[in-house]
């Protein structure tokens, strides 16, 4: 029971990270119907930028609580801004000229962008893993029996709270603001939205910016949680986050979060009870199963084929 509870906590933490990345996939897919393959690598770049800012401002474990809090907000702001600019640039260079072209063209540029970003970071930052000493230590023992104690660490609390805050803010943007309305309009019918005065280009650009910024948050979380990053983390995380988006029903924002948590739980429980080596196999098999038996995903709307 205690072991189970511990894995549940770990799974939800990991799932929050996947969910934040998955939002970027699901939003882009919802609006322009393409798999943004470079999104996982934007997440990776976000993690690198967070690492640099943390080192640059000299944030260490002994920094006082208030200062750490303020410093992390600064790190978040910088990483989100730069990742947002990167997302905007990628859309502008590689996807916008091909919008309305045939379906596979933007997919190939997206794969090209992904290869480019990975190798660019490998080239500029080196291939070795980058460790970061733990900044936020401590935690609580919430249950203890026998020799096993269920730990809830501070970093896990921060990750989950931050995810909940971001999701709330994000849901507000989508449901209440003009930008969100424009996004939903573009998702339903891009041409019609354009005719009615929605600036489609701007809306799509902002979608990429928001998605990239959320991926950068996920990057910071990943860095703080695991304490080690390299140029290749984007691929595996990206594939799993896309799996999460599809699992939750592509185009659905709560679905992306739910899918992320389900994927995180599967991965953690599989590692805990079966084998660590096959955790990704379990996650991917789950994806295939869901698509076969529930093609619209957990929270997605069933797709209607139109002639």
């Amino acid at each position: 029971m205690e072991y189970f509870l511990q894995q549940l906590i770990n799974g939800i933490t990991l799932g929050s990270i996947y969910g934040l990345i998955a939002i970027g996939y699901t939003m882009v897919y919802g609006i322009i119907g393409m798999i943004n393959f470079a999104h996982g690598d934007v997440f990776m770049v976000g993690a690198f930028i967070a690492l640099m800012v943390i080192i640059a401002i000299g944030l260490v474990a002994s920094t006082s609580f208030v200062l750490t809090f303020l410093a992390l907000i600064l790190v978040l702001a910088i990483a989100m801004t730069i990742a947002g600019i990167l997302g905007w640039t990628i859309e502008r260079i590689a996807y916008r000229p091909l919008r309305g072209s045939f379906r596979l063209a933007p997919l190939i540029t997206a794969i090209g962008m992904s290869i480019m970003l990975q190798n660019y970071i490998q080239f500029s930052q080196g291939a070795r893993v980058k460790p970061l000493q733990p900044i936020i230590g401590g935690g609580y023992t919430i249950m203890q029996s026998g020799g096993f104690a269920v730990q809830l660490s501070n970093i896990q609390i921060i990750i989950v709270i931050l995810t909940v805050c971001l999701m709330t803010g994000f849901t507000y943007i989508i449901t209440q603001t003009p930008l969100g309305r424009a996004q939903r309009a573009c998702e339903q019918d891009m041409k019609m939205a354009g005719l009615l005065g929605v600036n489609v280009d701007r809306t799509i650009s902002l979608t990429f910016v928001i998605g990239a910024a959320l991926a950068a948050v996920a990057g910071l979380m990943y860095l703080l949680y695991y304490g080690v990053i390299d140029f290749y983390i984007g691929f595996a995380a990206g594939v799993k986050a896309f799996t999460a988006a599809v699992l939750g029903g592509i185009g659905s924002l709560p679905g992306a979060m739910l899918g992320g948590i389900v994927i995180g739980l599967i991965e953690v429980f599989w590692s805990a009870y079966f084998s660590v080596e096959y955790k990704d196999v379990a996650a991917f098999s789950m994806l295939a199963m869901v698509l076969i038996f529930l093609p619209q995903g957990l929270l997605g709307k069933p797709e209607i084929e139109k002639v």
Partner: protein, 454 residues
């Protein structure tokens, strides 16, 4: 003064110089925002857990300057002209497009390919690259059946390549089967896997299929990586039997190929044999897929690519049609895989990662989806280009003597993928005409039909 002059000239050319400069500066600003943190700051580990930052202002400055200059050139030379008048396509390109490109270019390329090993500049390295290119041509022709003809986006094609390679290696190692027995077995096994994997997922449409095939590709790689007892895990399988010339090995001794045919011994013989073997397999792929296109099944694939709902309405069994495309594509992947295994003599899961799938798919799409000669051109450009990128030793002048040019290789490869797609979104040789169609309309006389004439 200079500004006034520029303004005087600008209207005649239709240039708005201040706007252009402003645009270029903006682009540079964005470039600075991206390059400063990623290129200008380097995270260096000190050996322990600590990381220090080093700043590289020169690199950032150069990158920003390149962006500024590039943007300016694009503004002045490319976009300006395109805006001034819609440029007519160059007559040469038009004529190549009109001609049936394959009809003339195909035999020339084939003849060159056959003569290639006997040319004076051909050495070991050239042969290696040539074999690699031919392997990719074969893989791409196989994938073309799935992606180009049937319109199913497969991002995990490398799984079947892996199945073929491991089938050959394991069968040869455990049962001592020869290459020629293993080849059809490997193809059959790959096709079998294609059916197993394809059956549940082919109901899915478009991008869902893409992501599931990607997942399957990863699953197969992970299983190969972790199933130590069967596949050797990350160490792979070494000592895969090398090919022999119908039983005569390519060795130096009395029994060897050179001695048997009274030739002076040369390492090139084995490579030449491998090259022709690859050529033969690729040509088999070519002829089979080329014939299949004209058969009813091929026409069904092309119809399915254009409109799935229409196909279903006309009573086509879409699942079976997709499955055959998937299985046939997989079979050629399996052939290529077992050739790869015998060529390398060593296989490991690392050879079958997602990048391979992406490369093969990129070749098919760059080649123009359903053009067979396009695949050849794209494959030569991409794989040959990748090899050329290994040779960029002059870059040591910029980055110092310990710089390894192959580091930049994949970066430039990705960049080329993006640029070529932007330049020609429909591929190098784009054609969407069906492989089979009626050459002329049949006119039915009006007295044979009830109303009008058709």
């Amino acid at each position: 003064m200079a500004v006034a002059e520029a303004k005087a000239i600008a209207p005649s050319r239709g240039l708005d110089l201040p706007a252009i400069i402003k645009d270029c500066l903006l682009a540079t600003l964005v470039a600075f925002a991206i390059f400063f943190p990623t290129l200008g700051v380097k995270t260096d580990s000190t050996g322990g857990l600590d990381i220090i930052l080093r700043y590289r202002w020169t690199a950032v400055f150069i990158a920003c300057a390149v962006v500024f200059a590039g943007r300016l050139l694009l503004q002045l030379l490319v976009w300006n002209r395109a805006a001034a008048a819609t440029r007519p396509a160059s007559p040469l390109a038009q004529r190549i497009g009109e001609l049936e490109l394959g009809k003339y270019l195909g035999p020339v390329v084939l003849a060159m390919a056959i003569l290639m090993p006997f040319l004076p500049f051909t050495d070991r390295y050239v042969m290696d690259v040539a074999i690699l290119i031919v392997t990719y041509i074969m893989l791409a022709w196989g994938l073309q059946v799935v992606v180009g003809l049937a319109g199913l986006l497969d991002l995990g094609y490398v799984a079947f390549y892996a199945v073929g390679a491991y089938s050959y290696a394991l069968l040869a190692q455990h049962f001592g089967f020869s290459f020629w027995i293993c080849l059809p077995l490997a193809g059959t096994l790959a096709a079998f896997w294609g059916i197993i994997l394809g059956f549940p997922v082919l109901r899915l449409r478009g991008d869902y299929l893409a992501i599931v095939t990607l997942a399957f590709g990863e699953i197969i790689r992970l299983v190969l990586l972790n199933w130590h007892e069967f596949t050797g895990g990350p160490n792979g399988i070494s000592n895969v039997p090398r090919p022999s010339f119908f039983g005569i090995p390519f060795t130096r001794g009395e029994e060897g190929f050179a001695a048997t045919f009274g030739l002076p011994f040369s390492n090139l013989h084995r490579l030449m044999f491998l090259y022709y073997l690859a050529m033969a397999l690729a040509l088999v792929t070519f002829f089979v897929t080329n014939r299949l296109r004209r058969l009813p099944i091929g026409r069904a694939w092309e119809a399915l690519r254009e409109d799935e709902i229409a196909c279903r309405s006309l009573g086509l069994n879409t699942t079976n049609t997709k499955l055959t495309a998937f299985a046939i594509g997989a079979m050629f992947g399996g052939f290529a895989g077992s050739f790869f295994a015998t060529k390398q003599g060593f296989i490991s899961p690392e050879s079958f990662n997602f990048l391979e799938s992406a490369t093969i798919l990129a070749i098919v799409v760059l080649g123009g989806m359903s053009s067979q000669i396009g695949v050849v051109l794209a494959s030569i450009a991409m794989i040959g280009g990748l090899e050329v990128l290994r040779q960029l030793h002059f870059l040591k002048l910029f980055f110092g003597a310990d710089f390894d040019p192959s580091q930049l290789r994949m970066l430039l490869f990705g960049m080329a993928m993006v640029l070529v797609m932007l330049w020609k979104p429909r591929g190098l040789v784009s054609s969407r005409v069906p492989s089979v169609f009626l050459k002329q309309k049949k006119i039915v006389s009006s007295d044979l039909v009830g109303q009008g004439h058709g």
